[in-house]
């Protein structure tokens, strides 16, 4: 089973649970019906906003902590000229 199938299966399961309660085919026992009817339609939006916030945070934090490494560049440049000198002294023709 591919990952897409697993994701589809799980989301279908939760979406149908949500729909059953939303269309009042099934009711949650012990909770006031009025409160459910106020909260329930907002759940998909809440999920969407939560995911959006997570994405933005994750991208922003990733960008913020993305390190620059100028020292690696300097070191590489030194090593390249070292390598060229050494290889030339061993008889390799470089340009």
């Amino acid at each position: 089973m591919a990952r897409a199938h697993r994701v589809a299966l799980i989301s279908t399961f939760f979406a149908s649970l949500w729909a059953l309660v939303f269309f009042q085919i099934f009711s949650i026992p012990g909770v006031d019906k009025g409160a459910i009817m106020e909260i329930w339609p907002l759940i998909p939006w809440w999920l969407l906003v939560t995911f959006g916030s997570y994405s933005l945070w994750s991208l922003g934090w990733g960008l913020f902590t993305f390190r620059d490494c100028p020292e690696a560049y300097e070191e590489l440049m030194r090593e390249i000229s070292q390598a060229k000198d050494d290889l030339r002294s061993r008889g390799l023709a470089l340009d």
């Binding site: 993305f66 390190r67 560049y73 470089l94």
Partner: protein, 261 residues
């Protein structure tokens, strides 16, 4: 025969051999230097090594240079295995694998974006946990699992936009595929030889997606993967390309893996 005599044949306790596969196309200028850097690292660590140069018929004389290097370092160390034309990265590794005499394979770019100085850390991490694969990551500051000698990763030569695209690409793949690896598009990796053979035989995509598919497949097949932070100096000679076409084909690749694996 006394088994302890065997140890005398090696300068260190490390009896493994590391084969580096270097796919090249017009790398006449870079090849001698990357080989010099590799030789330096391996000699310092007293490891058995070889470099398999898979050249796709470069018109610039890369193969001539490889032959000169072979006479300098030894034909057992620098092995030139050219191909008839530009046939792509994935098949270059498959071609190179046919000639590896080591039991570990290192794949990396020949353009200096990957520095051989990280190879000893890859090897230490592999040994400490008997990992199947160790991959370099630009995004982490510590290795996974922890390794004391690891130093923070990073990039050089990228502007904010390039960083954002790179982060976005990895975020997308990470969310959709959760491969458990922070740098999916990097291509500096150490593999156990049979593991690389197995994964590469099942991998279908090309280009950017190829390296990502290898990681996703590795996880699906139950192989263990470790990560070592690396510094990445973007192509200093030549152009590094990233256009809208690449982004679209990347997104298509992620989707293909999502529905395929």
């Amino acid at each position: 025969m006394n088994p302890f005599d065997m140890q005398g044949q090696f300068a260190t306790s490390d009896t493994h051999k590391y084969s580096v596969i270097l796919p090249t196309y017009n790398e006449r200028k870079n090849l001698p230097i990357i080989v010099w850097l590799l030789a330096n690292v391996f000699e310092k660590q007293q490891l058995a090594w070889e470099v398999i140069v898979v050249d796709d018929a470069s018109p610039d004389g890369t193969q001539e240079v490889a032959k000169q290097l072979a006479s300098l370092y030894g034909e057992d160390k620098i092995v030139l295995k050219p191909r008839a034309g530009k046939l792509g990265l994935g098949t270059a590794y498959i071609h190179g694998l046919n000639f590896c005499t080591g039991d570990f394979v290192i794949i990396m770019d020949a353009d200096f974006s990957h520095h051989p100085k990280f190879i000893p850390q890859f090897i230490s991490l592999q040994k400490a946990h008997n990992l199947d694969i160790v991959t370099g990551t630009r995004y982490r500051s510590t290795s996974k699992p922890f390794l004391r000698e690891a130093t923070p990763g990073g990039v050089h030569g990228w502007d904010l936009k390039r960083k954002l695209v790179s982060r976005g690409a990895n975020f997308l793949a990470d969310t959709v595929l959760s491969p458990g690896v922070s740098d999916l598009t990097g291509s500096f990796r150490l593999y156990k030889l049979p593991v690389l053979r197995h994964i590469i035989a099942e991998t279908q995509s090309k280009g950017y997606v190829f390296q990502m598919e290898m990681m996703v497949r590795a996880r699906a097949l139950g192989y263990t993967v470790g990560e070592v932070p690396i510094t990445f100096v973007d192509r200093i000679f030549g152009e590094s390309k990233l256009g809208a076409d690449e982004i679209v084909s990347y997104a298509k690749g992620v989707w293909a893996l999502f529905v395929g694996i």
